[in-house]
Every structure is written in C-alpha cells, then in structure tokens.
C-alpha cells in the first residue's frame, strides 16, 4: 500500500496551500469565495453552464505543465492535489497595469454589468496562451462555456481578436514562471494516497490506478469522481451525499491514449479536450461532435469514461461509439473484462457495472475504410446544449447495396440504443431513396421517444428520421448544402 497523506496540496496563484480539512463535497468556488475571500470569481449558476466561475487549473501532463479553463463551481477542492489554481486576481500586475486580456476588454467595451467578465477574462486568457492569434471559430469555441446577458458578445469577440496587439504570451508570468511552477508541483507529487476525513465522510485521491482498484475493493460504494461535470451537479443541485468520494482525475495512467491501426484506446480519464486532439484527425465526425459538448471548461474536465459510466440516455459519446462497435474494459481489483459498449447500457439508470468495478479503458475502432460514418446532434441551441436527438451512422455500401449498417441514437429511448429495425430495413437493399423511405417506418418499431422540455416526442421522431434522410443525401452526393453551420463543415 502507498504512503497516506492527510492533506491536499496545491498552488493558489502565488501561494502554497496545504489543507487538512476538506469536505468530500467542497467546491473550489466556495473555497475561493468563502474561505479565501477571493471574490473576483463569481457564481452564476453552480452547474457549469455560465462560466462566471472560470479559473485556470495548471496540471502536469507528461513533462508539460498545461493550463486549462475549468468551472470552479463544479470542481471539487479534493481533486486539485498537485495543481496550480489561477484566479482572476492573479492577472493584474502589482504596479496596477492591466493584463493584455483585461486591457483589450476594457478598450473594446467588453463589459456592461461586469458580472460575467472575470469568467470571460479567464477563458480568453486560456485561449490567448495557447493561440495568441485565434480564428473567429476558435474564439467562438473558447467562449462556448461563457454566458453574457448584456453585451451580445460582439465587443468581447472584438477584444479577443485584438488581445495579441496588447502583448505576447511569452511575456506572461505563467509562461516565465513555468519551470519554477512545474518544480513546485512536481515536489508535491510524492506518490502517496491522499485521505481526508473520517468514516464514510472521507475523500480519497488514489496514488495510482492499482491503488484505485484497491480503494474500490474496500469501498465498493464510494463515488468515483473523474471530471465531476456530472457528479458536481449532484452536489450543487441536488445536495446529494457523495462520500466517500474517490477523485481519479489526476491519475496519469487513466489519461493515456493508445493509437493503433484499427482503433484508438482511451483511458477512462481522458478528457474531451485531450480526446479531441486525436479524434479530430482520426475520426473527424467525433471531433466535430466533441466541439458541441459543453464549453471548453466542461471539455477540459469531463471525460469520455464518465460520459459512458454515467449511463445517461442523452450522453453524446455512447451512440457514435456504439455505431463504431466500441467496447469497454471494466476492472475490479485485478480482474478485468471487456464488453461491447452497447451491452453496458441495460436500462434507464442501470448499467452492467458491479460495485467496486470501474471503467478502465474505452476501445474505439476506426470506421472501415469503405464505410461512411456520420454523427449529428440536434439541440435547441447549437452549442453547449444537451441533445434532443443524436444520430450516429456507420454504413458500408458495396456495389450499390448496403453491406453493413450500425445506426445508434441518443435521446430516443431510456438508453443510448441501436436502431436495429432500421438497420435491418437497410441491409441487403440498394442504397437508394426508396430504401431509405421504406426504412423510415422501422423507426416506430425501434423507438418510442418521450416529450420533455428539450423536445416533443413528435419532433424527436421526425428529426431522427430526417437524419437518416440527411445521411442518405450526404452519401449519395445529393442536395447541397445539407446543413446550416456557422463555419464551413468539411464533409
């Protein structure tokens, strides 16, 4: 067993923090505002949707120190061991000079009521550090997780384009101090397990994946917390008790991505942002889909593993991964098993996972070279919205007829699910408008969607069918354009 440490340690702006008292469900935002009186970081929603609470978290990834924008409102304090938290208070120089991001916003009238502004500052800060001269598309993407009710965004976007004229990231303290901060963070990573609290009311940070397996053996009912973009809301919205909580976000081994010729294997802790960097090149439709999950803050925290493990019928990753024939490796103690992803989802709120078992890896096969693969998400608002209907199509046409079809939907049933009757209506038939029209009736066999605040059952059904029609047109070189998009979509 590894050493046990009874404090979490991290850097907050300039200062070292070591805390021996941390509640398992304590949020970074509350810590900043209530315990530290750092009130520049705001609460607008406490559910990861508005971005008013945006801070940067620096973590060591391999040899690098990377800074990412995250939502402090749903980021557990316990998950920050060995990290560098940077808040808006850190930006202004001691001589009172504003940071380039701040000055650009001021000069472009980027704030009105100002309540959203610190969050925008932090999101733009993260963007400018990785891309000092961003495209408009990159700016929009970086701001998907920030709501402003006053400005209509135009001045903020103008400021974002102009930041580079106010200074280069090379001159930024987070750049200059990189080596020193890395050394300080590395010194904190002593390979021990962190354990704080007593009895059930404990939080644990495993030393490594084996330690995680061991902890879960001992505490099979512990809440596994990866990116906390779901679990965070259980606490902030539903006041659910999550103790004992096991924070796995910092486990490097779970963040590994293995690229093979036939597919890609993701550690369960790979964030959307990290997955994007691989998927946008290898399976572009999945890259585009990830762009529409949450905002940058959520993508920096949230994991594919969590999206699957959570078992939601409207999680965006399961349908396309099912369509691709993906599988999962589950681990309990030292025992591992691999199952088809579609078999993992048993029913609403019920998955094939035993107490003490955790998702270790996700295997994503590449589409066949002659297959057409497409994923479309339909939601009320284009970005940072939960799916009303999502359709994923993996269809191989040979000699004019459908050789293989795997089609899966989200938002249409109690679980992410294949449209098996529709598949059957297609396979073996010519890939033609007639076949598609005839297959539409099979949707009524596969699905009985519900009505809720996101969409009516009628709309869900209609849109689900129309996605197949869109897929047909897209693969048969039919009517163009086929979609509306803010930026050109390469098909």
């Amino acid at each position: 067993m590894p050493e046990i440490r009874h404090q979490i340690r991290f850097l907050l702006n300039e200062s070292d923090v070591s805390l021996a008292e941390v509640a398992p469900d304590e949020m970074l935002l509350d810590y900043l505002r209530l315990r530290r009186r750092l009130t520049g970081t705001k609460e607008g929603c406490a559910e990861g949707d508005c971005g008013a609470c945006t801070v940067l978290v620096g973590r060591i990834a391999g040899d690098e120190l990377v800074y990412e924008a995250v939502n402090a409102c749903i980021r557990f304090l316990g998950s920050l061991d060995g990290c560098h938290v940077v808040t808006v208070e850190h930006l202004k120089r001691t001589d009172g000079t504003l940071h380039p991001v701040q000055q650009a916003l001021v000069d472009h009238h980027g704030s009105q009521c100002g309540f959203c502004t610190p969050g925008f500052v932090m999101s733009l800060y993260a963007l400018w550090m990785r891309s000092p001269q961003p495209s408009d598309q990159a700016i929009d993407k970086a701001l998907q997780g920030n709501l402003c009710r006053c400005t209509g965004y135009e001045p903020i976007v103008k400021a974002a384009r102009a930041i580079t004229g106010y200074g280069a990231p090379q001159a930024d303290p987070l750049h200059g101090e990189r080596a020193r901060v890395r050394a300080r963070l590395s010194a904190m990573a002593d390979g021990s397990r962190v354990e704080i609290g007593k009895g059930a009311n404990r939080l644990l940070v495993p030393a490594d994946v084996d330690d995680l397996a061991e902890i879960l053996q001992a505490e099979p009912n512990a809440t596994i917390v990866a990116g906390s973009t779901d679990v965070g809301l259980w606490v902030t919205k539903f006041m659910r008790d999550i103790a004992p909580a096991v924070f796995i976000g910092g486990l490097g081994a779970l963040r590994a991505i293995e690229e093979g010729t036939a597919g890609i294997t993701f550690g369960a802790g790979v964030s959307y942002s990290d997955a994007f960097s691989v998927l946008s090149g290898r399976i572009p439709p999945l890259g585009r889909l990830i762009d529409r999950i949450g905002g940058d803050q959520v993508r920096n925290m949230g994991t594919i593993g969590g999206n699957i493990a959570n078992g939601s019928p409207i999680g965006d990753m399961p349908p396309p991964l099912i369509a691709l024939g993906g599988s999962l490796t589950l681990r309990k103690g030292d025992t591992r098993r691999t199952i088809a992803l579609e078999d993992y989802f048993i029913d609403y709120g019920k998955q094939d996972r035993a107490p003490g078992e955790f998702v270790e890896k996700i295997h994503v096969p590449l589409p066949n070279p002659d297959a057409r693969f497409a994923v479309w998400k339909v939601s009320k608002r284009r970005d940072e919205d939960i799916t009303a209907v999502l359709g994923a199509f993996n269809v191989t046409v040979r000699d004019g007829s459908v050789a293989q079809a795997r089609i899966a939907y989200g938002g249409m049933a109690a679980t992410p699910r294949r449209a098996k009757a529709v598949e059957a209506a297609l396979v073996g038939r010519p890939w033609s408008q007639e076949t598609v029209d005839a297959a539409l009736a099979a949707y009524e066999v596969d699905f009985t969607p519900i009505s809720d605040m996101r969409a009516s059952a009628e709309y869900r059904m209609m849109a689900a069918k129309n996605l197949l029609r869109r897929f047909y047109l897209a693969t048969s070189g039919g009517a163009m354009p086929l979609e509306v998009a803010r930026y050109e979509v390469a098909q």
Partner: protein
C-alpha cells in the same frame, strides 16, 4: 485630484464630456474582479444566511406545516413564516395586497415562498430547507392561458384602446383574416442572481444592500413588512450584475426577508437563492396569446384591426397592469390603423407572477402588428416589406395612434429606406430566391422590420427624478442620483453630463452608490428612462451650483454675467481665467452653498386610462433591422447569417455605450424569439429553471455578420438631455427581424403563398413543424 497637480489653463477639451465614447466607469474593475457586487462585500462578524422554503404544488391549501426538523438542523438560528412578519405580510407593488412575502394559508404557484431558514452558513440554511414537511390540499390550477375560459379571473383591470369603428371596417374590408399567435415568455437570466444583505441598526433602523432597480420601492416594502416608517430603512445599491426588469419589483421579496431576519436575530443577514430557485420563484416576461382579426384591401392597406392580448400574469398583479397596457400601446408598431380595437386580458394563473422585462409588454404588442403584416403579405403574395412601408404612419395625416396620441416625429420611413439601401435588401432578396430554387434542403430567408417605441412611464407620476451634487473645496465633485447601475452605463452617462456642465474632467466626478438616504422617492430605473430623467436631474443640480458660482464671481470680480464662462478646467471671469478649483475655494470662503439637490419631471405627458386617450409618451425612439437566416428543413436548425441595424439615438450621449445597448438588446431579443423556451409541466412546475435547460444566446449564436449603425442624423425634437434619446429597451425589438426572416425561409417551401404563422420562440422544433405544415398544405 491633489493640490499640487499642475493645471493646464489652455486645455481645449475636458475628458469624458457629453458625446464622447467614454468607457464604462467600472470597466477596469469588472475585468480585474475588483468590482464589488453584494455577495462580494466583506461580511461583518456574525453574519447569518437565509434561504427560502418554496411550495411544491401549484395551487393548494396548506393543511399542515411541520418545521421542527428544519429548526433543529445544524446551524439553524431562526425559521420564519408569515407569523414572523412584524408589519404587513405583503409586497405587492401594485398596492393590491395580493402578494404575500410568505404564503399564509394557501399557495398559488409552485415555487412560492412559504418559509425561510436563517442559519450560520448558506449551505446549512439551504440544506435545512429541504427538511420541511408541508401537506397541501390540492386545488384546481390554471397553468396555461389557452385553457382560460371567457370568464377567467383577471389580476388587474384590463384596458381597451379604440379608434374608429372596427366592426364595420372589418365587415366592409375586401379581405379579412383572423388568427392567433402564441408568444413565449422569457427569463431575465441576469448573471448575478437576486440578493439582499440587511444590517440591523438601532431603534427600527435597518440598512439593506439590495440588487434592485428600484431602491425606493424596496425601502417602502421593507418598511411595510417591518411595520416601520420609511425613514428607518435605507436601501443602497452600487451596481447590479444585470437587471433587465427582473430587479424592478422582484428584489422586494429578498430584501424584505433579509430585513425581517436581521431585525429578528439582531445580526446581519444575507439572502441569495441559487439559480434554480431564482428562476422558479421570481417573475419573468409575460407570455401572450394574441388573437387578431384584420381587414385590408388588395393593395395591402390595413383597414381595420381587432386585437385581444391575453397574458399569463401569474398569481398576482405585480406590474401586469402596466405591462399589458404597454403591449396595447405597441400593437401598432410603426403602422397606422384607420380603425382599431385592442383589448388586454391580464389573466390570473397559478404560475409565478410575471413582471417587467426590457420592453415591458411592448415587444409582445409589436409582434401582433408584425404578424398581421405577414398575414396580409402572404395573402396577397407580396414582399412583407412592401406591406410594411404601405402602412407606415404619415407625416401630416394617418398619424394618430390607437391611444389618440399624434405621431409627430415619425422617422420610420427614413430609417427603413436607409437600411434597405445599406443592407442591400432588394438584391439579397433576389439572390435568396435564386438560392432557394437550387437548394432543396437548406432555405434562406430575409426580413426587414422597424421599431417604434414610446418613451416615458405610462404612469405619468413616475416620470420624475432627483439628484444630489456636492462640489468639495478641492474642486472634486460627488454625484448621486436616483438611477441605478445595472450595466447599462447610466452612471457614466450622468457623470458625463455633470462633467460637461462644470467643464471638468470626468475623473473629477465621483460616482456614488444609489441610496434612498441621499435622493428620496425615486422611480425605478426602467422604461429606458434612466438617463433622460436622472441626467436631467443631475444637470439641474449642477446648474444650480454653477449659477451660484456665477453670481459669486459676478460680485467678487465685478464683471457682468455674460462675461463668465466655464471653460475646460477653468472659468473665464472677464479677462482672466481662474482654475475651477480655485473659484470653488473662493466661493466656499465667501460662504456659498456648494451642494444642490436637482429635480426633473417630464413635460407634456398625460394619460387618461379610463378613456384610453392622451399623450402617454414624450417621444418615440425608432430603429430597424434586417436579418438573413439559413434554415435546415430536415431538422429546423438555423443560423443567422447577417444582421444590419440602423438605430436612432438622437444626439447620443455616448455612442460606445449606446452601441452596446443596441447589440446587447438585439441579441437578448433574438434569444427570446429563438432558443429561450420556458416550459411548465401540467403540474405547474417550471422545467427550464437553469442554464442547462434554458438556453440564452451564446457568442456562437450571434449573426455571422453584424453591422450596427447609429442613425445620428437627428437630435431629439423634444428637449431631452442634450437632445439624446433613450436606448435601453427599443433595440430589443429589432430582433423581430430574425423571427420574420425565419418565417420567410419557412414560407419558401410553399412558394410564399401560405403564412407560416411561426410562433415564438421559434425553436428548431417550431421551425420544423411549420415547415412540415406548409409542405403538407402547399
């Protein structure tokens, strides 16, 4: 300013005067996080936190209430119910006694406050709330106004506007169409939620920091609730993190609860609901059903219109009377109706009591006008813009509104004409038609819609304002007025006006928090009136002091008045120039009063509601927008390709601030008409009560191309402050162009022969359903 700073006696211009693009006074504090909102204020030792316990049924009698477990929960110091209200358990802004702080025996909507918990921490208070056991006896609940019968209960007196005889006009009209439009409500989604922080003082005193647009009303409500005179209550607000009308009356509840708790416990008490409770328990923009019957001729000239505007008001009147009135005042938008009748139906429902929201009923009113334009255009196979232009108010005739005010300043024709050219409307309309020919799935649409918005509170007595200006002996100036700052830039505009009067740099003018202790009996910062009213009051105060300085200088230097002039940073007295601060110091030595209370009331306006006649508006603000959209006819998804706006601001006090109001207002309006959908289930539970389910626009929803121009060719014909025009609300309605562009795109699937009757919000779902209907009928 320090004494030693060298003075530039040749300065040609002050910094930050009127008509400069001064940035928001708090911009540098916004970006650093140093701007203090109420939740950021240092908490005195012993501060407690309150949280509201909300009802869980839409309509019911409280059979029993067991708060034992709540009181026994960790950290709980007090539990409050209606029995703990020392004064009157009512915060009805309409004075109708229909809005309890805590529901006494009956709840009337799901989410109504029933009790409050006061605890050492907010978390403790919040958790304790969930331990309450309340049993209700369910009563029948009316949630959806479509289900309201003819004799349905109203929350306040309805209004009828009438001119000409509409019945005969409709009967005689060559063409006639009737229909119904559903218009959704809107949550304010101010980024800073509701909050109040009360500090008990001696005697009956209490000071409340409230995130409110209406400190005087909060003061009255708190006094009322405490059973104390108004003088015991001081309400202060430095800034809000957004208001949009949502903090005009809705802050009353939180302030009252904090104050009651503070007086009861003798400790400071803060209350801040979380976002879900904020959205569930506070009022929103009214949703409407608009029934219309329009008669017109073959040329598209409207001959008569009969409108009924039914509104979901919720369980109490709140501001529903004036909101539904204003809907009727805007049922004409920029169009002349030879005969018209418009009736309001402010309906009682078992939902949260709806309230003010930017535009205050005006937007819903105008949508009715624009819908009938669409109906006429599609019926005749004409471009809706042609129908719009055909029906505009005339200059000398055809210029009387349904409320019998003459439109003296119609700028609509000019605004439309200039925008039509600058946006390339005609060419683009042709190109779009060609595109649609070629493109079976994605369809484009374009629309150009005007706005005419009446400026003034329709309750005439609200059109007054006060200000307080002190000049200190070092020449620095303290400015205070009754207006509140919610991001709209009111503080900086008023400071510009004062700097301009004294000809001092704006840096010399200290903007101070709005407080009932300095300027009393103020009106809400609402109805776009903030700078019109408070700017004038501050100017008046400054002028009083200036006059005294001039009088003093005349005597002291023995020069005639005409030879005294305020120049940048200095005053010319005869043939010498004296630094401003020096003159002020001399005046002080001569015992001249250097402080003044300013006052202003809007002239000319009057309104007789019973007769439906008068001049409720001092003037109108005009604008127009042209939007183009692309619609995916397979899913109903869309993007706004381009928007061009031309909006009139008179002689703008600050173009940068005004453009910010226009851009922000437009996007907010676009959200209302597109993705912002409020959904109540049949139990009366609001299902869209947080940003995860309620979708306001993101940066990536703004038009791909967005051109905003100020029509600054003119100055206000009326004597407003520096001849500027109000700009807070009018641009909101420019977003109608997006709804109508969507309608145009949808109409293309049936050759523009059927009116899509696209209701709002036009979510992708509604757009797809309209496409399907037109395809089926077309």
């Amino acid at each position: 300013m320090t004494r030693h700073e060298p003075l530039d006696l040749k300065k040609a211009e002050i910094s930050g005067g009127v008509a400069t693009d001064r940035r928001h006074d708090s911009a540098h504090k916004h970006v650093t996080g140093e701007a203090v909102y109420i939740d950021d204020m240092a908490e005195p030792a012993g501060t407690l936190h309150a949280y509201l316990g909300l009802s869980t049924v839409a309509h019911g009698i409280i059979k029993s209430m067991d708060l034992g477990a709540v009181a026994a929960a960790p950290g709980v110091v007090a539990v409050l119910t209606h029995e703990d209200v020392p004064g009157t358990n009512d915060i009805s802004p309409a004075g109708l006694d229909d809005e309890p702080i805590f529901a006494p025996d009956k709840v009337q909507f799901l989410g109504q406050p029933v009790f409050a918990v006061v605890a050492e921490t907010r978390e403790q208070a919040r958790r304790a709330c969930s331990l309450a056991r309340i049993e209700y006896e369910d009563l029948p609940a009316l949630i959806d106004i479509a289900e309201a019968g003819e004799d349905a209960r109203l929350v306040t007196k309805p209004l009828t506007l009438q001119r000409g005889s509409v019945g005969p006009a409709l009967q005689a009209a060559p063409r006639r169409i009737s229909g119904r439009m559903r218009v959704g409500g809107q949550d304010h989604f101010y980024l800073e939620g509701q909050i109040a922080f009360a500090m008990p003082g001696e005697d009956q005193d209490v000071t409340v920091h409230s995130s409110t647009q209406h400190p005087s009303e909060v003061q009255h409500m708190v006094a009322h609730a405490l059973g104390a005179p108004s003088h015991a209550v001081t309400v202060e607000v430095r800034r809000m993190g957004g208001g949009f009308g949502g903090k005009e009356t809705q802050a009353n509840l939180f302030a009252a609860v904090a104050a009651i708790a503070a007086k009861k416990t003798g400790r400071p008490v803060k209350i801040r609901p979380d976002r879900d409770d904020d959205m569930t328990a506070t009022g929103k923009r009214h949703d409407f059903l608009i029934d219309y019957d329009v008669g017109f001729d073959e040329e598209g000239r409207i001959l008569g219109v009969d409108f009924t505007y039914s509104a979901r008001c919720g369980f109490s009147a709140d501001l529903s009377g004036p909101v539904t009135d204003r809907a009727l005042f805007h049922c004409d938008n920029t169009y002349y109706y030879p005969s018209v009748r418009a009736i309001s139906r402010p309906l009682y429902t078992n939902t949260v009591s709806n309230t003010a929201f930017r535009g205050f009923g005006g937007p819903q009113g105008m949508l009715g006008a624009e819908r009938i334009i669409d109906e006429v255009a599609f019926a005749l196979g004409r471009d809706p813009l042609e129908i719009r232009k055909r029906n505009l108010y005339g200059e000398t005739d055809r210029n009387v509104t349904p409320y019998h005010q003459t439109v003296e300043d119609s700028e609509a024709a000019r605004v439309i004409e200039e925008l039509e050219i600058s946006a390339g409307y005609a060419d683009r309309r042709r190109e779009i038609a060609e595109f649609n020919e070629r493109s079976p799935i994605v369809k484009r649409g374009i629309a150009l819609t005007p706005v005419k918005f009446g400026i003034s509170f329709t309750a005439t007595h609200f059109n007054q304002a006060g200000a307080l200006v002190h000049v200190y002996t070092d020449g620095s100036i303290h400015l205070n007025h009754g207006g509140t700052e919610m991001g709209q830039g009111l503080y900086v505009k008023v400071a510009q006006i004062v700097a301009e009067e004294f000809q001092v740099d704006i840096e010399q003018v200290k903007i101070t928090a709005t407080t009932t202790g300095k300027v009393p009996n103020t009106s809400a910062t609402a109805a776009s009136s903030g700078s019109d009213l408070n700017g004038m009051a501050a100017q008046n105060a400054a002028r009083q002091i200036k006059d005294r300085l001039i009088d003093f200088a005349t005597g002291q230097y023995e020069v005639p008045k005409e030879q005294i002039e305020f120049l940048p940073g200095r005053v010319r007295v005869g043939n010498q120039e004296i630094p401003f601060a020096e003159l002020v110091r001399q005046a002080y030595m001569a015992r001249i009063q250097l402080s003044a209370a300013g006052f202003y009331k809007t002239p000319k306006i009057h309104w007789n509601r019973d007769k439906g006649k008068g001049r409720p508006f001092y003037y109108f603000a005009y604008g127009a927008a042209c939007s183009e959209v692309s619609v995916d006819t397979l899913t109903g998804e869309y993007v706004v390709e381009r928007t061009d706006i031309l909006h009139e601001t008179g002689r703008s006090l600050n173009r940068a601030i005004d453009i910010g109001q226009i851009e922000g207002g437009f996007i907010q309006g676009m959200g209302w008409l597109t993705t912002e959908e409020l959904v109540w289930d049949d139990k009366g539970r609001l299902r869209t009560h947080a940003p995860s389910t309620y979708k306001i626009p993101l940066a990536s929803d703004r038009p791909k191309i967005f051109n905003v121009e100020l029509a600054d060719w003119g100055e206000n014909r009326e004597k407003t402050v520096h001849r500027s025009k109000a700009v807070g609300e009018p641009p909101f309605m420019l977003a109608m162009s997006v709804l109508h562009a969507l309608s145009d795109a949808v109409a293309s699937v049936a050759g523009h022969k059927i009116c899509p009757r696209l209701d709002a919000p036009a979510t992708p779902e509604r757009v797809l359903m309209a496409v399907e209907r037109l395809r089926a009928e077309g």
